[in-house]
């Protein structure tokens, strides 16, 4: 429309009689220029208006897209689901079926280094979500590779709605004894557990029970917690009784040193009273016998972890130093040959004071690459067997309990193409068996699917 007007004016100007006076002509030209200017301004305003409209349309379209991308169905409230895939190739110089930690009562847990050759590790299936405004629930099932069982590794609820630093967890969960025990195996820095965890916690202790924790309102991190459990696994034994089968008290201190270092130190005390906790041994006549322990088992653990990264940004480089010291006292009675298969069943006092520790460092030197070294050492300490002291039996009737200091050196390198995948190569020389060093090589993959997991410090 403006253009038409403009043209009309131009034509009119052109058709103006040539003999018109100069002044009139210049007036006309001036009017024309003004008109042209007005038209230009109007056009610009129109363009601006169009642009604003299209921007608004864009925004509206984006908002609509966001609204429609929100899931509308029931599945919107499905819990987060994750799966951990884990496969291992192991090369072991000694038969893993003969694995034992000399000097220590066998734990009946999964302490052996696993199968030789290719094997599927334990697969994990996890479900987690907020239950409501008060609770959060987590279920992690482990599927054994031999098609034999699906086990509940962890299945617990925890409170969201408590205040003043209190929280409660109930169900089956990894006990807060020590540091690494609470971490899922797929997030460990080495393929297998430290020897101390194998000897004192039967690899990893998950307890059925309840945990109360309180975090102090201080700028330095300080917590206090207590767990009461059934005592379903080593060092406890399941007992058909009401009340509490095992209890654990723990405390942590933690903080930052500058921006680059974060640390945490912990102390925990696990107290249980196992009854008829059996283990197999071969006595002095060469006969396989079953012995059992009843009494009190008390375990102290001191743990510490320190993480360094430049400016607190672990993406490119970081270092993690981790160590734990375990000390256990078991006081009670030991029954020899419970089934009367060899020299007859005998019972007398038993007292042992044993310890063990490990220290490990893992260095990420490039974004996707890490190397690590771990040193393990256990000390069978003092074990007093009244059956031996009284002369009823000899120390040779309890070869597994003979004094020994198991050791192990482990190195590993892993490659992590993303947060969700890890390929690891690990070598270890394991002196858990007296006089029989075992050279172990593991090549392992660990991959996680689904919901993005959050890992503990």
């Amino acid at each position: 429309m403006h253009r038409n007007l403009c043209c009309a004016v131009a034509l009119a100007a052109a058709a103006f009689p040539a003999h018109a006076q100069d002044s009139e002509l210049s007036k006309m030209r001036e009017a024309l220029r003004q008109l042209q200017q007005q038209v230009q301004q109007l056009e610009k305003r129109l363009q601006d208006a169009e642009k604003t409209a299209s921007e608004a349309e864009n925004t509206a379209a984006q908002a609509a897209a966001q609204a429609s991308s929100r899931p509308q169905s029931e599945s919107a409230l499905n819990p987060g689901i994750s799966a951990i895939l884990n496969g291992v190739y192991a090369n072991l110089s000694k038969d893993p079926n003969t694995y034992r930690i000399n000097g220590f009562v066998p734990t009946l847990g999964e302490v052996s280094p696993g199968k030789r050759g290719f094997s599927l590790g334990e697969s994990e299936l996890g479900f987690m979500a907020n239950v409501d405004h008060m609770f959060r629930g987590t279920l992690i099932a482990s599927i054994a590779p031999d098609n034999s069982s699906i086990g509940v590794e962890e299945g617990y609820i925890q409170t969201l709605g408590l205040s003043k630093g209190f929280s409660i967890k109930a169900g089956r969960f990894f006990s807060g004894v020590g540091y690494q025990n609470q971490i899922h195996a797929h997030a460990w820095d080495f393929t297998d557990a430290p020897l101390a965890m194998k000897a004192f916690l039967g690899n990893q202790l998950n307890e059925d029970g309840v945990q109360f924790k309180w975090v102090a309102p201080t700028s330095i991190y300080f917590d206090l917690g207590v767990e009461f459990g059934q005592g379903r696994a080593f060092p406890a034994t399941e007992r058909n009784k009401n009340g509490v089968g095992s209890s654990n008290v723990f405390t942590h201190l933690g903080g930052d040193i500058g921006e680059s270092i974060a640390w945490q130190a912990g102390l925990s005390y696990l107290s249980t009273s196992p009854r008829d906790r059996t283990f197999d041994d071969v006595d002095s006549l060469g006969t396989g016998v079953t012995n059992s322990f009843s009494g009190d088992s008390k375990l102290w653990v001191v743990d510490g972890v320190l993480k360094w990264s430049p400016d607190g940004n672990p993406t490119y480089k970081n270092f993690k130093l981790q160590g734990e010291y375990f000390r256990r006292k078991e006081d009670g009675s030991l029954t020899y040959d419970t089934l009367g298969q060899s020299q007859g069943t005998m019972t007398d006092g038993y007292l042992s004071k044993q310890s063990g520790w490990y220290l490990q460092g893992v260095y990420q030197f490039l974004p996707q690459w890490r190397v690590g070294y771990r040193y393990d050492q256990l000390d069978s300490g003092t074990t007093t067997l009244d059956l031996v002291d009284s002369g009823a039996l000899t120390a040779a009737d309890f070869p597994i309990l003979a004094a020994y200091k198991p050791k192990r050196n482990t190195i590993m390198v892993d490659w992590n193409p993303s947060e969700f995948s890890r390929l690891r190569l690990q070598f270890a020389r394991d002196y858990a068996r007296m006089g029989e060093p075992d050279n172990q090589m593991f090549l392992q993959y660990i991959m996680s699917l689904g919901a993005h997991g959050a890992h503990r410090f």
Partner: protein
């Protein structure tokens, strides 16, 4: 055992009686939200930020000092959209603090209050560490800061009624200064319109969209996957055919991949603050945008 428990209990009670400051405790996941809370809350808030500009907000750990801080927080402000998925859920469950749980007035997920970009049509991890809810780095569009600011003011007033007038006054003052600043930035950033830019990670998308720039590639082959030699070589080739004007990286990124591309493809490269504290001039939110625009304009000369 008993004595130890008594000692622990005594220590615990002693710490309970610790003097707690009267100011409202604000826990910000990222420095930009900390700076916003400080602008709006003034001396009535005590702000801590879980991350610094030198730290990748995707990647930090749920370390003990953060649990200690979130335990006493009255207000939590995070970007959300899964930016903090690797650490915030743990902090929330460990905090024993019901004031800042999801759904309470003390919980603000900033990206919920803005129009998000880059919502993926296909969600699959083979595409990298993508965020199904859209790009979470929303603060680099200055208009989004204003939107989130309104929410922060509402929540501050709700949590601390007594000072509601104080917060409203500060909010009005900040809002006015911020709108003026946006006008100024729009004029200053005009030459950036249409300028092709290579980013390190997709953390500049909101700025690029606001300033009308054009993203011509990223140093990461896929979001969250560190730059690889193959991808960089491919990028150099692409830049020879279709050169970008500038390659940028954030204060928390490794500068080397950007320097590599900058040298090989002869494109100027520069670090951008990304958030408050990323550079000396990015002391607050105003400085963040001033410095980002200045640095980019400096590259065009």
């Amino acid at each position: 055992m008993e004595t130890i428990f008594k000692v622990c209990l005594g220590l615990g009670l002693g710490i309970l009686a610790w003097p707690v400051s009267a100011a409202l405790n604000v826990f910000a996941c990222e420095p930009e939200w900390g700076a916003l809370a400080q602008e709006l809350g003034g001396d009535k808030v005590s702000v801590v930020s879980a991350t610094t500009a030198k730290q990748d907000p995707h990647r930090i750990e749920a370390r003990p000092s953060l649990i200690a801080r979130i335990r006493s927080a009255d207000l939590l402000i995070c970007s959300g959209s899964e930016l903090e998925v690797g650490w915030l859920p743990l902090l929330l469950t460990q905090s024993g603090n019901d004031r800042i749980q999801q759904g309470s007035p003390g919980f603000i997920e900033a990206s919920q209050y803005v129009v998000k970009l880059e919502i993926p049509k296909v969600v699959d991890r083979s595409l990298g560490d993508i965020h199904p809810a859209g790009n979470p780095h929303v603060h680099l569009d200055p208009r989004n800061i204003a939107k989130v600011g309104t929410v922060v003011t509402e929540r501050l007033s709700e949590i601390d009624h007594a000072s509601a007038d104080f917060y409203r006054a500060r909010s009005e003052s900040f809002g006015k200064r911020w709108q003026e600043a946006i006008q100024r930035w729009q004029q200053r950033a005009a030459p950036l319109k249409g300028v092709p830019i290579v980013v390190y990670h997709k953390d500049m998308s909101y700025f690029i969209s606001w300033a009308g720039m054009r993203e011509a590639g990223s140093l990461e082959p896929k979001p969250g996957i560190p730059p690889t030699p193959t991808h960089l070589a491919e990028l150099v080739d692409r830049m020879k055919r279709n050169p970008a004007k500038v390659v940028v990286y954030s204060a928390y990124n490794d500068p080397r991949p950007a320097e590599f591309l900058s040298q090989r493809a002869n494109i100027p490269g520069i670090m951008l603050p990304y958030t408050v504290g990323g550079t000396e001039k990015a002391k607050d939110l105003f400085g963040l945008f001033d410095d980002t625009i200045d640095r980019l304009l400096g590259m065009l000369k």
